[in-house]
Symmetry: D3
Subunit: 119 residues, 6 copies
């Protein structure tokens, strides 16, 4: 079930990610598929786009750039516009401080460029 949700969010990229994750540790990969995507993201009650934006908010204030990169792509795939993503990052200057927002925006620019999203 988590695999289906993962595909819904990231498409073919999900398999590639899981393959490389699996080399790191097959068990944490399994828990990610089962708990994160099977249990949490699969829950009704909140749409995937809003879930993605909340994740972007959390990872920005926590300063977890590797995962932020990955979830910024997920947010785009879940229908968040570039504008909406930038709004979340700017808003995080209030809660995590300006350095968190600057680091988040710099990561977002990399992702937008990679995805060919022009300004």
């Amino acid at each position: 079930m988590g695999l289906r949700v993962g595909h819904e969010i990231w498409g073919a990229k999900f398999d590639e990610m899981m393959r490389s994750s699996s080399e790191i540790d097959p068990d944490l990969e399994r828990y990610t598929v089962e708990y994160v995507f099977g249990d949490v993201y699969n829950r009704p009650g909140l749409d995937l786009k809003t879930r993605s934006l909340c994740t972007v908010a959390a990872l920005t204030v926590l300063g977890r750039r590797n995962q932020l990169r990955f979830h910024l792509e997920g947010a785009v795939k879940n229908g968040a516009s570039k504008r909406e993503i930038l709004e979340v990052l700017i808003q995080m200057s209030v809660y995590g401080g300006f350095p968190a927002a600057w680091d988040g925006l710099s990561t977002a620019r990399e992702v937008f460029t990679k995805l060919g999203m022009k300004d």
Copy 2:
């Protein structure tokens, strides 16, 4: 302008908050009204309900309970349902760890009870 946005989100409660904040420091209060509510929350491009849920996500992983309490009320006033708020908090177990989610849920229960929101 920030005052208008503050009223839109919290109603009369906003004045009371600002009065007590003002006793702490009138300058930080002014910056909050000007920068946080006048500049950031007033921006188009993201609806207030989504902004509120992203704030709830950030404050939960940061463990800032005083502000979380306050923004949980704001989320309700901005149209987030109890279900949607609980979904964000549960999702934060993935990004900030289970203790963050437990603390967030315990704060949310206090707020829901205070606002008379039954299960």
Copy 3:
């Protein structure tokens, strides 16, 4: 399965905890039982006492006092001596700073007193 592990660590206290957690949110409680205790703590490869001490280390540097209180009791139930727990807390002054260690030690004293563990 997670229930069994939970009982192994906290005994009857586990049911009481889960009952009160359940009032907060039955789903997060279920995930805690399934993922945290059923999947993670149930894994072979590391004894429960060492798992508990690592959790105490993490919660101390994160400053999550509610959960720290709870896991300090768990560490005692898993066979950690008062001395071993104090050693972990003192060591955390190096990694999370002295304020983390002081807050952790103050929480530990409350727990030791409650459990009637004399010096």
Copy 4:
């Protein structure tokens, strides 16, 4: 040597603090006296007032309220004015976010009131 520095900063209050700390753990107390006050605060190259303000900055963004309370008193004893302390706290809204600054200011008000420092 650390004892002398501690007395310089907090006066008689230092003994009282150390007595109550000692009940928590005599070893961490000893390390605090030796390493924190004997080694670090005792170093030439930076005056005690600036050291105190930097500590206030760090504890504010980390959200360590117990220690912040204590070091706010230390800052006052080291010659920082109420205005200078408030400036550091307001500035932390930029680096640790507004919730950090609000929590810091609320703690500072308690300390200023306790010390009888009128506006």
Copy 5:
């Protein structure tokens, strides 16, 4: 007004920074100029050198290296000596832990080398 303060601290480097920031997001750049430099750093009541050292303290414990690099240069431009900066970083071992201090010192060495500040 914030532009003037920015120039006071970083000189010509400020324009270059703002140009590259502007490519990331012109709005966050504007808020940085207006709120951070126009409002906060422009306030009387605390000298720029002490403000810089407090910022260095906060960024060190938060582990925000990109911004730390930038503010270490600002601290030098604001008159902080290499010795004073090192003192703040060493002191942060107490509040944010030794890893925070090590990372901060390693960043500082890069900046001092770049600025041609010999030991």
Copy 6:
């Protein structure tokens, strides 16, 4: 005394580390040898392997990768098996969130490869 403990944990690598640390700052190096290894790690009451695993737990949730790399090697030298280290990292998904665990596992893979520890 701290030097002896450092050698016990890291062997010849310890001298090399201290030499490069010493270039960053000889005083922080001295405090690390004296306080961290001389005082803390040298204490009886907890074996070095468990101390190492607790340090790995703390650095993982704090996201301090430079130091984590270093202490993962220390854990191996102190007798922790690859399996035990992976268990601690997986467990940290519960306390610091999944991104902390993923980053920790990715760092661990680098270290295991460098040390020639096959799966």
